[in-house]
């Protein structure tokens, strides 16, 4: 359990205390990752199923390492290799998986809401590893963790999120997490990539990169997905990188000296981020990857432990 939550499907309804509980625990988990023997026995005998209906290397590996460091067994089930390609429905797939008695199902799906649907049908805990354009809560948590670690606190800090906000589940989870922890959030990108009504989440909208990043404590650059290019959303990658990409010259002129640069990965070098920034002194991109394992360990530990998680079928479908 994380506060009131049996699952982790999104950060929209997580309180400050609940997010802080995960981040505080992740500090201890990160210490485990720095030991000579990176393994603790706390989830021995528990099993975690990674159910991925969309391609992912980083997030899936991160959950897999997190499970293994905690001594849980991790089973990876990918859509292309499964009976999904033979026409099995999502619910049939998870009911079959559930018959193998996992303690946690980690799911990524192209349809927003798929993890919530699964959570309502199974007894074990469900963690969303990204669903459609809805949320990517573990990424939001690791971004909050990384910022809190580097800045000390998020209260009163300003963070700019730059890129395709409309199609980004990372942006949404980041906005919820950062706002809940007291940060001011700006979003920036081509007008075609800023969803109407995003201000309702507490973010301010900017269309000029220079204006969006002025005085912020950190910039989160989002990946521009190749399939969007050539699409009416952006005419060309050159135009995108010229207007909304970050290079060393813009960073030096527009960012404060201590401003951090983050990216959820994988980076399109030369599109949203030039190598001189991605590998530069401001970049905390590799810290994000390491912190991702620690945060996912915290999620697995909190949701797999306790008698409730031990197979109480059809338990209350609370999220």
């Amino acid at each position: 359990m994380i506060g009131r939550h049996k699952h982790c499907l999104g950060l929209a309804d997580y309180t400050r205390e609940e997010i802080t509980e995960v981040l505080d625990l992740a500090v201890s988990m990160k210490e485990v990752l720095q030991r000579p023997i990176k393994k603790v026995p706390s989830l021995r005998g528990k099993s975690v199923v990674n159910l991925f209906f969309e391609a992912s290397t980083r997030t899936r590996s991160s959950f897999e390492v997190a499970a293994k460091v905690l001594s849980a067994d991790a089973l990876n089930w990918t859509a292309s290799a499964s009976s999904v390609s033979k026409g099995e429905t999502l619910i049939d797939t998870v009911r079959n998986l559930e018959a193998m008695r996992p303690d946690v199902i980690v799911i990524r799906h192209s349809a927003g809401g798929a993890p919530a649907l699964v959570a309502s049908r199974v007894g074990c805990a469900v963690i969303s590893a990204g669903d459609g354009a809805h949320e990517h809560p573990s990424q939001g948590l690791l971004d909050c963790f990384t910022l809190r670690e580097k800045l000390g606190t998020l209260d009163g800090k300003a963070v700019a999120i730059v890129g395709d906000i409309t199609h980004s589940r990372v942006a949404r989870s980041d906005i919820y997490g950062l706002r809940t922890l007291g940060a001011k959030v700006r979003v920036c990108g081509p007008p075609t990539m800023i969803p109407p009504g995003i201000e309702a989440l507490g973010a301010t909208v900017h269309h000029e990169l220079r204006e969006a990043v002025a005085g912020v404590d950190a910039v989160i650059m989002l990946r521009i997905q190749h399939e969007r290019i050539g699409d009416p959303l952006i005419p060309s990658t050159r135009e995108y990188s010229r207007l909304w990409g970050l290079n060393a010259r813009k960073a030096a002129e527009w960012l404060t000296p201590s401003c951090l640069v983050m990216h959820p990965g994988p980076i399109n070098r030369g599109v949203e981020l030039e190598p001189d920034v991605a590998d530069g002194v401001r970049s905390v991109i590799l810290d994000q990857v390491e912190n991702g394992v620690a945060v996912r360990m915290a999620l697995l530990y909190l949701l797999a432990g306790g008698p409730e998680a031990a197979g109480e079928a059809k338990a209350s479908a609370r999220t």
Binding site: M1, L25, V27, S28, M29, E31, V32, R35, P36, I37, K39, V40, P41, S42, L43, L70, Y301, L302, G305, G306, P307, A310
Partner: protein, 177 residues
């Protein structure tokens, strides 16, 4: 036990550790690890005493055993995990593992499991302020401040000023069975 008694007991325990370390050639490699939370402040006090007795200040660390517990499924919520902080290499060291109260032995079992994940100490000694009996595992302390005979339902608490107590004390609360 009152504050003065605790003080005397710690003096004696430190002298015993120093004497045994000298006798068994472990003086140089001496290190102290306190088990959170009761053992941490005791480890700090022991360190100050040992520094005078052996001439060098032994390194001190902290172990939190929450991730090594064997009762994750029995607790309502997952136990709170505190910081573990062992910054020195444990390989080849003589480790004095410190806790306030020795009871079932399960905490010590978990601490030993965690300790060996940091390396291979030359040997590990267990030092406790109070041994209340009631072991559920074959574990014994090398250095014991006091043995107290209590009933299983009784509660033994070590209160120290570092943890916010007004004065040091060991308190036994008898509960009707």
């Amino acid at each position: 036990m009152n504050a003065a008694e605790i003080d005397r007991v710690l003096d004696r325990l430190a002298a015993e550790v120093a004497a045994r370390a000298r006798a068994e050639d472990g003086e140089k490699g001496l290190a102290i690890i306190g088990i959170r939370r009761g053992g941490v402040h005791l480890a700090g006090r022991l360190r100050a005493r040992l520094a005078k007795l052996v001439g060098a200040t032994p390194p001190v660390g902290t172990i939190d055993i929450a991730l090594y517990r064997d009762d994750l499924d029995e607790k309502g919520a997952a136990p709170v995990v505190g910081p573990t902080d062992v910054r020195f290499p444990v390989d080849g060291k003589t480790i004095v593992l410190v806790d306030d109260v020795l009871y079932t032995g399960r905490t010590v079992r978990a601490a030993l499991d965690e300790l060996v994940d940091f390396g291979r100490p030359r040997r590990v000694w267990l030092l406790v302020l109070v041994d209340r009996g009631g072991r559920e595992l074959p574990i014994a302390a090398d250095f014991v401040g006091a043995r107290i005979a209590v009933e299983p339902q009784d509660d033994v608490q070590v209160r120290l000023t570092e943890a916010g107590a007004p004065e040091d004390a060991v308190i036994v609360t008898r509960r009707p069975s």
